[in-house]
Symmetry: C3
Amino acid sequence: MSTTADRLTELGLTLPPPMVVPAGVRLPFRTVHVVGDVAYIAGHGPQDADGTLSPLRGKVGAQLTLEQAYQAARSTGLSMLASLARELGDLDRIAAWGRVFGMVNAAPGFDRLPEVINGFSDLILDVFGPQVGAHARSAVGQAELPFGLPVEIEGQVHLRR
Amino acid sequence: MSTTADRLTELGLTLPPPMVVPAGVRLPFRTVHVVGDVAYIAGHGPQDADGTLSPLRGKVGAQLTLEQAYQAARSTGLSMLASLARELGDLDRIAAWGRVFGMVNAAPGFDRLPEVINGFSDLILDVFGPQVGAHARSAVGQAELPFGLPVEIEGQVHLRR
Amino acid sequence: MSTTADRLTELGLTLPPPMVVPAGVRLPFRTVHVVGDVAYIAGHGPQDADGTLSPLRGKVGAQLTLEQAYQAARSTGLSMLASLARELGDLDRIAAWGRVFGMVNAAPGFDRLPEVINGFSDLILDVFGPQVGAHARSAVGQAELPFGLPVEIEGQVHLRR
């Protein structure tokens, strides 16, 4: 039995189904792309339990609060874990997190970007622990994100050989 | 004979010459930097056939349409393939695409960013096919890009050992 | 004795102490995270000699000039070298720079982003020389950066085996 799957159960977390792509949009890339022992993780956003993108849209610091954005970053993490689990079969195959790049759809003047992306980092550290879950990170403000999403995060993990 | 070069000919595509750097600007970095079996690709923008940067400048969704930006992303892909071909000698040395990071100079409210960067992904998949050309991707909106370019894309590929 | 440390002395450069994190902010990630022979470098900003973040805040092209931003990018490089030295023990362990991603807190219309990030590239090339210091780079404009910093840079280096 997967230790990571056990840990998700213990934390009461459920991974969402594949993203329901908005009508009329093509996304001709892989959400997780494994090359050798590296898995590149495409930009993910927050999903609802039915697989659709979160209806929370807009700029953090204007339409959305810091707390809502923190939850969106956490939800983005669950979406990413779901993509990884589907591609890898078992999240225990992750030997180490590498790079995390957290992007916030920031209203003018909203610079509390690290506090938003903490929603993602806290989840990863909760699920994988301080050794495997450790990562380098940036948290920055974008002018726009796809579909008006409040948060988009991409990353890179290393797999057990 | 290179399969990838054949495929470019088949598609009627010509790779541009090295970028003509705008007057007065120093760019003290490598457009493609190989370390071991990874090639890091610097941020590229759309070029014209004579090597100069595309004269299409400005914000997508304001000065430029989605369709123009799609073509700019495709042109950015040709610029990147040209840099890779010059550095690697032969594009067949690419074993797998890894990460693609697509940035759009987005007008306020323009969030159709994935549709813009599809111009790049469609080209890569056309040229390399679904196996080698597969990649993980983000498509995001920047506040500004160098020289007012509408699109800038960076990435990472893996080379045959 | 470390060649890189010697070179820093020769250039009259001093590396700053660990960043003094602004009050009330948690940063639950590693500034440098080594996985195998890759070191992922988290987003860094300019620091003062006492470890605090630079008091120069705001948008480049509005509150700050290009020259101030160039110096901020250089200072960001020193902050990054300090993090690398603390994590690696010796900067000579760096076999090659890989990817540099330079982000500028850009005022509307300010697109001289490569000239800002040159402050970083020039430092890295000064310290490591043209062989080890060579890197691929992007220089882009963000809507917002943490704490209103003018520059944030992340990157990736390869270590000697």
